[in-house]
Structure formats: structure tokens, C-alpha cells
Symmetry: C2
Amino acid sequence: MNSPVPNSSAFSELRAYFGERFSTVPDVLEQHGRDESRAERHLPDAVIFARSEDEVRRVMASASQFEIPIIPFAAGSSLEGQLIPVRGGISLDVSQMNTVLDIQPQGFLATVQAGVTYPALNRQARPHGLFFPVDPGAEASLGGMAATNASGTGAVRYGTMRDNVLSMRAVLIGGKVIQLGTQARKSSAGYDLRHLLIGSEGTLGVITELSVKLHPLPSELAVLRCHFRSVEAAAQCAASVMQAGLQPERLELMDERQMRAVNLHQGTRYPEAPTLWIELAAASRTALDEALALCAELCAAGGAGGVELARSETERQQLWQARHQAYYAARALHPGHAMLSTDLCVPLHELAPTIALTHRLCAENNLDASFVGHVGDGNFHVLFHAEPEDAATWQMIGRVYDLMVAAALAVGGTCSGEHGIGLHKRRHLRAQHGDLLELMRGIKALFDPQGLMNPGKIFEED
Amino acid sequence: MNSPVPNSSAFSELRAYFGERFSTVPDVLEQHGRDESRAERHLPDAVIFARSEDEVRRVMASASQFEIPIIPFAAGSSLEGQLIPVRGGISLDVSQMNTVLDIQPQGFLATVQAGVTYPALNRQARPHGLFFPVDPGAEASLGGMAATNASGTGAVRYGTMRDNVLSMRAVLIGGKVIQLGTQARKSSAGYDLRHLLIGSEGTLGVITELSVKLHPLPSELAVLRCHFRSVEAAAQCAASVMQAGLQPERLELMDERQMRAVNLHQGTRYPEAPTLWIELAAASRTALDEALALCAELCAAGGAGGVELARSETERQQLWQARHQAYYAARALHPGHAMLSTDLCVPLHELAPTIALTHRLCAENNLDASFVGHVGDGNFHVLFHAEPEDAATWQMIGRVYDLMVAAALAVGGTCSGEHGIGLHKRRHLRAQHGDLLELMRGIKALFDPQGLMNPGKIFEED
């Protein structure tokens, strides 16, 4: 299917209605033709900046009428090619739908338009002593985060988007508006279609509004940082912290290559060894000190060295700094290289052996890969890099990646802990959920009988 | 559609295979013809006791071939008529599939057959210092609990089945086996069909196996019990405990009528006033004492009287006793009466006003209703009762129930916090999710094109 050309009659109504917010300016198309991944680039035929659900409905009605593909877009921070208009069409940009509509401090909930970013929500929640804990990095929008079931460093304590979205409004192709979920904290009222939209990567409808859980800001916080002889030892220690029931706020790992990248990039002198960050919270200083003491014991038993502790906000930020710089440091270290970040997730008791296996696979195949991970979830990223045109290395990366996925699936894990499937992991999805693909395609056809919603994503083309 | 008679050729193969585990004994049919609700009773044509997934597949293949309705059955403890074979067919009893297959203490997970009850799982988890926190009461099976997205007193801290089921195996009509979810703690791999099966009340397939999260047993526990002048004041205090971030393990409410019922039933002398239970956990005695002190302050500020504290396991069980007896006491107080328990759930900030409104509705209509609730979730039960044949009272109860549902929906709540839809709440589901029913029916048709899975449940007949 080819979409109509932007100056055709199919677009004329939309162009007339949206005026300057209907754009075919090359820079704007370019910006909506890629995401943060190493994916091929395709331009949309047009970009529309919607400012209300009603405007989204209008676009979705026209799209159905004229069979124009729709790619929902907000912050543009997806990592698996989710936003790339592989079949052209309209990139429907909801980033201007960025109003926090309501905060109910007594109900622990906020209602926002889909284009609100999580840092923006947090700026409004914090004065109430509350915060939204899902932090995938980048300035991601809540609509996009729901669409990929995003998570990040806070998931170990507060869960993913799936655990924090109470209800949503969405527009289906053709313009029908649906309301999914409720604002109550639990519900057993029919099939939970909310969980279909969460993680649907724009293939079922356009999310326009979300009600999400807020959580009380922890009153006492501290961060421990320490390093280990091996990544496996660090992962094992992370598992032991979880097993002790310490419920860390964050539990992050970086390997020695990542630490070296940061030192080179930042001019710092961190020990270039696998490093663990453990952030703990408690209701009082006494309770926090007890937790820290237990945690330090576990680290010592796990062979940790160089234990450092930060309490004040400034100190904590300083201690976290290397972790925050990880991705950019790795990028800066290999200028001109494209990066590929995996996001496997395995059961906690399988984390250390899986990381060990992955390490070996990379070494055996001479791949220079670094590790960083939300290890309290069993989720870790391997950062690969190579020159974009270096086909041989990318082929090798692909082969090793497939082996890593197979190893994760064999121990009950998943090919994607948080990035989603997009364009890049469609074959991995087949390996993981081949028995479910027919049902998933059936559901896709129910919501989007014309196949116009973000075509080419999640499912391999027939 | 009428199902075949049990001695027809349709059943002969199954009868031959299952022998005595294919039953048409009147007592057995009777036991599978009702649940714990005040629903009409219908007998199945036959009951089959399956002992393995392979046996379930065999039944599901025959059922498709001969168009026989299938009603999955395990503990028989549903409350909304979910188990009632309104169109006859086979009650497929998986209660003998009761093996705990695997416990991974380091991975915080257990894998069980669908007929394992949560108390049985807990008996095997506790020696590892772990437990499964979803406790709907009765000796419910994990398969059935997943099918209704059950919760209970532990949900305020640990969530519902939806939050605790990592993966499932299920058999579809015709015999196909599917695997939903993974054992990893998070996944963003395609549409999350796991959440369709959870809460599907046996209308999509038969759950045969589940992997669920286990949690560390809290090391220090204490329970506060206190009473209030009004249910609204108690509910308000419950909300303030949540808002303080105390994260109680349980937070339960009973009104004065419930307390009186317990006194009459048990010969106890509890104050006959709205009563709140707050169970707190901490990693140490010091941390627990701090939390208790804050909690006691909040209770005092909320106007609580008669504050009692229990620490040892025996004392705690004693303090909880009245709460555990609630349902049976209410039942015993009105011998011969049928009971109906609602399970509305509203956002926390709407709880006290919603309870006040509900109270007024009952009083205005001279309904003798008592309240009990998992108030930390915003979830509360109103227990109605009347003689089964008293049509006028049941009509009034129905009218008041509809008004209660409308009030809950108006503030963003749900008609069912934990019991599900079954036969009784189908009209409430339409009020709540009317815009989604077409999609839900489409999904039902995808999984069960012949309409054989637990017919008549969730959806009103055409």
C-alpha cells in the first residue's frame, strides 16, 4: 500500500484545518523519520501537530477514509524503530498535548494528556510530596511510555508503566474514542483492554490521555556505590540485596568498560571495575541506617570494594553521575559509530549466569560490548557499537544477539524488558511468542481492520 | 444451543478415557451446579476431573468437535455465578491438578498447577521465608483466582492477581496450548495476552499452570485495631494512613452492624462501632515502633477510640479474629437468608464520600446492609441479605445496587474490585465499559469462535 501524496485531495481537508500544524517542511519530516535507534530512516508524507483529542479524532477519521497510515509520535525517543514511518503516511505528533489535567494528592493520581513528559509531571507532583516513578531516560512522553510499557531505574521498586497506568483514553482508526481501565486501584470488570494498549507501540490506537499512580516521595534516602571483581559477582550481590527484602529504590550495574568510557568522557577517575549502585529509602533516619548496615554487610559478603555512601541530595547526585552518563559516554567513545542496546530480562536467579554467558559470547566473537543494567529486575543492557557501514560486524552482532535471546528465553526470560519490539526485534518476538502471534494479529485486526496504525511494527510483514 | 446428553456418542470417548473421573453422579453434578453466590442453579451434563494439561487438551478437543460448553472449575468459590453451567455442558474440574511444580526462592517465584490453592502454596513457600500474598478468602485455587483477578486483604500492599501472575499456560477450545507472559519480572514483547486471560472468568480458555511472584515474609509485624464514631470517619482515617506512606500490609474496615453480628455469633464483646485494622510490617523492631507511633497519631487525629495493639502471632490472630468471622457471622445472623456482597472500588480520595452516600442509600430504602472493606484499596463490600423468595426486597436491593454502581462510576471507580462480572454484574459492566463491549466480544470470538467457553458469563446474551 502506498499512501497518498501530501498535496492530494486526501490531505487537503487536514491541511485546511490544521494550517501550519500540518507540515511537510523537510526538517520536520526528517525529525519524524527516525528515532534513537540505528534503524533505517523513512520520511512521513506529512506531520500533524494535534492539540486536543478532538483533533486526533479528526485525523483518525480522515486517515480511515483515505487509507493513510498513522504513526503516533511525541518525544521521538523510542529505541527499536517504533516511530519510523516505513510506509509513509502521517506522523501524528501529540507533543503539544502536554497539559497536566488534574492531580489528586489524596487519591495518589494524576491525569495528563499523552504528550506530557515524566519530568514535567514530576515538576507538578513534587510540591504535593508525590512523584511518578517510571523514568526511562530521555524526555519521554507518558503516552509513548505507555505504548512501549517503558520502565527504567525505578521499576525495581515501583514497577513499569503497566503497574502505574490506571486508565487511558485512546482514539481508534476511524475516530472512535475509548476509555480503558478506571481510576480505582483495582478492577475485575471484563477483559482488561488497558493492558492491550500498554505495550501496543501505536499499532492499535492513539493514546490521548492517561491517569497514572503517584507515590509518596521517600523521606530518607541514601545511595551506596561499590565495585566488584567481575560483572557476575556484582549481579550476584544485586540478587542478594533483593533476596534480603531490602526493596531498593534503584539497583543499577555498570561494567568496567562502561566505567572506563565515563572516565575518558568526563575526565573522572572512577575505579574501572564492575560497579553497583544501591539506593535505599526509609521512613526515618534510624530505619535507613539499619537498612544501610544490612546492605553493607551483603556487599562485603559479596566481595565488594571501595564502598561509598551518599546521603544529601548533592552527594547522591554526585555518586550517581557516572551511571547517568553511561549511554552518552559510550556514544562519545566511538564517534561515528552506531549503537545498539539490547534489553533482555531474566528471572532474578538466572541473572548472574545469563550475564556470564553473554559476556563469554561477546568475548568469543571479539565484540567490544559493555554492560549496564537495572539488575534488581533481572534486566540488563548490552551496548554494541560499530561503524554504520561495517556489515560484517553488524552481522556478527546480530548473530550474537540471537544467541543471547535464545539463552534468555531458555531460562524463562524475555527478549525485551523495556524497549519493545518495533522493527528490530520482530524475529525475537516470533522466537518468544510464536504460539501467540496469530491471536495478536487477530487483535490487531479487531482494533485496526484497515492495517493503518503504525504499520510494520511488532509483526513481520506477510 | 443445547449440549448433547451425557450418554450420547459425543461423551462416549471421554467417558471411556476418564472412567470414574467422568461423572454424572447427581451429588457431583449438584456440587458443580452452583457457586457461593445467590445465583440460579444449573447442572452440568457431566463433570470431568482432569489430572494433567494433556487431559485438559483431550477434553477441549472433544468439546470443540461436539460443540459442548466447557465451564472451568476448581475450588467452586466464585461469587458472581461464574461457575454455573447455564447452558449445561462439561464442568471441567482441575482441582486435582494440585501440584506445586517448582519454587525458586532466589528468583521469588513459584510454578503451580491451576488447582493449587493459595494456602497450599503458602505452606510450601513459608519454609523458604517467602509467601504468596493474594488471599481472597475461601480455599480458592490459583487458576480460579487468576480467572477473576482475585485480590483480598493483601492487595493494599502486594497488588492483585494481575500484579502477581508472571506467566500462565492455558488450553484453548480445540486443544491448542498457549504460554502467556514470561518468568521475568517485566517484559515489553508484543501484546500482553496474559492480562486478557487474567479476569476472563473462564470465557477464553482453561488455565492449567501459573508462575507467580513470591514475596519475603515480613520480619516484624504488628496490628492496630481501633474504632470510630462513623464508617466515614474510619474510611477517612484509612485514607490518611495510606497518604502518610505507611504502606500497611493490610487495612481493613468493618461497620457497627458487622461487629454486632460477630458478637452475636461468637459471644464476644467487641465495641459495636466501625472498626479499623491496620497491620504494619518493618525490617526491625525499631522501624516498626516508629511506624506504629505515626500510625497511632493518625488514628488519634482521626478520632479513633479503644486503640489496641498486637505483636506476637497469637495476639495478632486474636485481634484479627472478628474480621475473619465477618462473612460467616453475617450469614449466621440471618439463617435462611441469601446474601449478596457488592465489591465496588473507588479512588482513595472518593472512598469516604462514596461510603457515606451508600450508607444513606441503604438507610433511605430501609435495607439492613453491613459494610466491610479493603479500604486501603478503596474497595468495600456491602452485605445485603433477604429471604431468597422475598422478591420485593431483592428488587429494592437491585435498585440500590444500581445506584451505588452509578455513584462509583461517576467518581472514576469500578463496579467490581475483585469478584468479577459472572452472571450478576453484566448490566453493570455495560454501564461501565459499554464502549468496549464490542471489542471484548471480538476478542472472545478470536479465542473461542464456537462460543463454548463458559457461555453466558461477562456478556449479556444477544
